[in-house]
Symmetry: C2
Subunit: 303 residues, 2 copies
């Protein structure tokens, strides 16, 4: 029987592997590590990379927190069968990543894989990966989505379509009426209701986790030497501004973290080193920037 400790252990190893792969591809940046404890129970291992050759600012975070269940979580913990008892404590563990590259031709990426368990036996997995290119390069978006589809298809041929749509809906900046980037996959509350064992669902989550490093390092490698102008940098800062808007207004992980009194510096590592806002900016017709905006829509078939 798969235990929460085994899941946490695998997540820690995933963090290790991803940091190692990112450092290798970056070529100069090194992760620095902060271990922290949570007052209510548990803690985490935050690894941050700054001012690397490719990565300007990024974090690969592991955490495993537990303790009495916070009020705002109680609505999530309604027992799913009548034999289950009300819960009083929770355990949450996962890996979260956001990478902001220096070169505007390299996309921003985010991944999260997580496991949640209550002492009444209710549990679920969640996660997702999404790509936010400052400039959408069709070939890259196709490559990225194909990698995710391959990972999904190994487990269930319906997963990709379902979780791709979920990502389109989740990574959406409502007030701008634009998607955050080219999407990816998103899933939550995967549990025994899916007629799969915990072990089977964990295999899928591991597949997603293992897809991250080879996929993103390939995009880093392909684009890190592309030339860029000051105008490209300015556009990157504006796109990062949108990323900040999404993370502070809509992102549920950020909300969960801040409301559960998580470690602020770990939660907000997702924010870029520098971001810009310009009043009522819109790019020239037919510019690369305008083409990118045209791709920031739901329901594009990339894979």
């Amino acid at each position: 029987m798969l235990t929460k400790e085994q899941i946490s252990e695998w997540f820690m190893q995933l963090q290790e592997n991803i940091c190692s792969a990112l450092e290798t591809e970056d070529g100069s940046g090194k992760f620095v590590e902060d271990n922290w404890k949570r007052e209510g129970g548990g803690g985490g291992r935050t690894r941050i990379i700054q001012n690397g050759n490719v990565i300007e600012k990024g974090g690969v975070l592991f955490s495993a927190v537990h303790g009495p269940i916070p009020d705002f979580l109680k609505k999530d913990t309604i027992p799913t069968t009548s034999s289950q008892q009300p819960t009083t404590t929770f355990y949450a563990t996962g890996v979260s990543i956001v990478i902001h590259p220096e070169n505007p031709m390299v996309p921003i990426i985010h991944m999260n894989v997580r496991y949640f368990e209550m002492d009444n036996g209710v549990w679920w997995f969640g996660g997702g990966i999404d790509l936010t290119p400052h400039y959408v390069i069709e070939q890259d978006a196709k490559f990225f989505h194909s990698a995710l589809k391959n990972a999904c298809d190994k487990h269930n041929e319906n997963y990709y379509a379902e979780y791709k749509k979920w990502a389109d809906d989740y990574f959406f900046i409502k007030h701008r009426n634009e998607t955050r980037g080219v999407g990816g996959i998103f899933f939550d509350k995967l549990n025994q209701k899916q007629n799969l064992t915990k072990e089977q669902l964990f295999e899928f989550v591991k597949e997603v986790g293992n897809t991250f490093a080879p996929t993103y390092t390939k995009l880093m490698n392909k684009n890190k030497t592309l030339p860029f102008s000051e105008a490209n940098k300015q556009w990157q800062l504006l796109r990062r501004g949108r990323y900040v808007e999404f993370n502070l207004i809509y992102d549920l992980g950020t909300k969960f973290g801040l409301e559960s009194n998580g470690r602020v510096e770990s939660i907000l590592m997702s924010l870029p080193k520098l971001a810009a806002w310009e009043y009522d900016y819109s790019p020239a017709n037919d510019s690369l920037e305008a083409q990118t905006l045209n791709f920031l829509k739901k329901n594009i078939s990339w894979a």
Copy 2:
């Protein structure tokens, strides 16, 4: 009897006067104007200044919107007396200002004055001014609070203490456990319950509105020529990052605007041209930056 149209008209004139005073003190920046209509009714006059001599990015916004009451507002509209009928339409008008200066020695400022009315006769005034220095200069904070206290004292000797505390509580970045700046005054839902007529409350709101320009232009004038270093600029960008956090996570005006499908570019004019985040940054002991952090607390008696 004071009408909503008269209130709106005064607010438009206030916008005019403030823009004129800011342009004069800036010396080179000019406001550009965008008139917009709201789909559900009403509209606004947005004035933005960018890349001036003193002001890097700022907005002075007037709006008067009306129409069927949005669902999320209905909880606010419970009739205050049993003789009042349920309401179906609202009218909201006001002036909102945020100014981000170029020189880190000049503080960020925000002001809002507003009037809200429902078709069942329920109405109220709200507003506030608060100052966010990148570097807290005690003399300036005292001058600012004294100006607000003077304005309040002309109307009621309890206002300043009450509304200063309200500002400390409102302009608070909970997850950072720090105030946004040195505070100011904040008040909401001032109505007939205060045993004052609408005319009397409007006189107070006008006093607040009229306090803005002479107070802030004096601070611009005093500090705009102070020298600053690259390190001061970097600190300014970090403080602006906090400003972005407050506005996107906590600010009720931003929330109201985005949820009521307001004009996004007007609502988010409050965001700076450029902002920065640095992982786990803390300033050196006894530095000017550390001294500023020490002032970002509630309950400091400035006036």
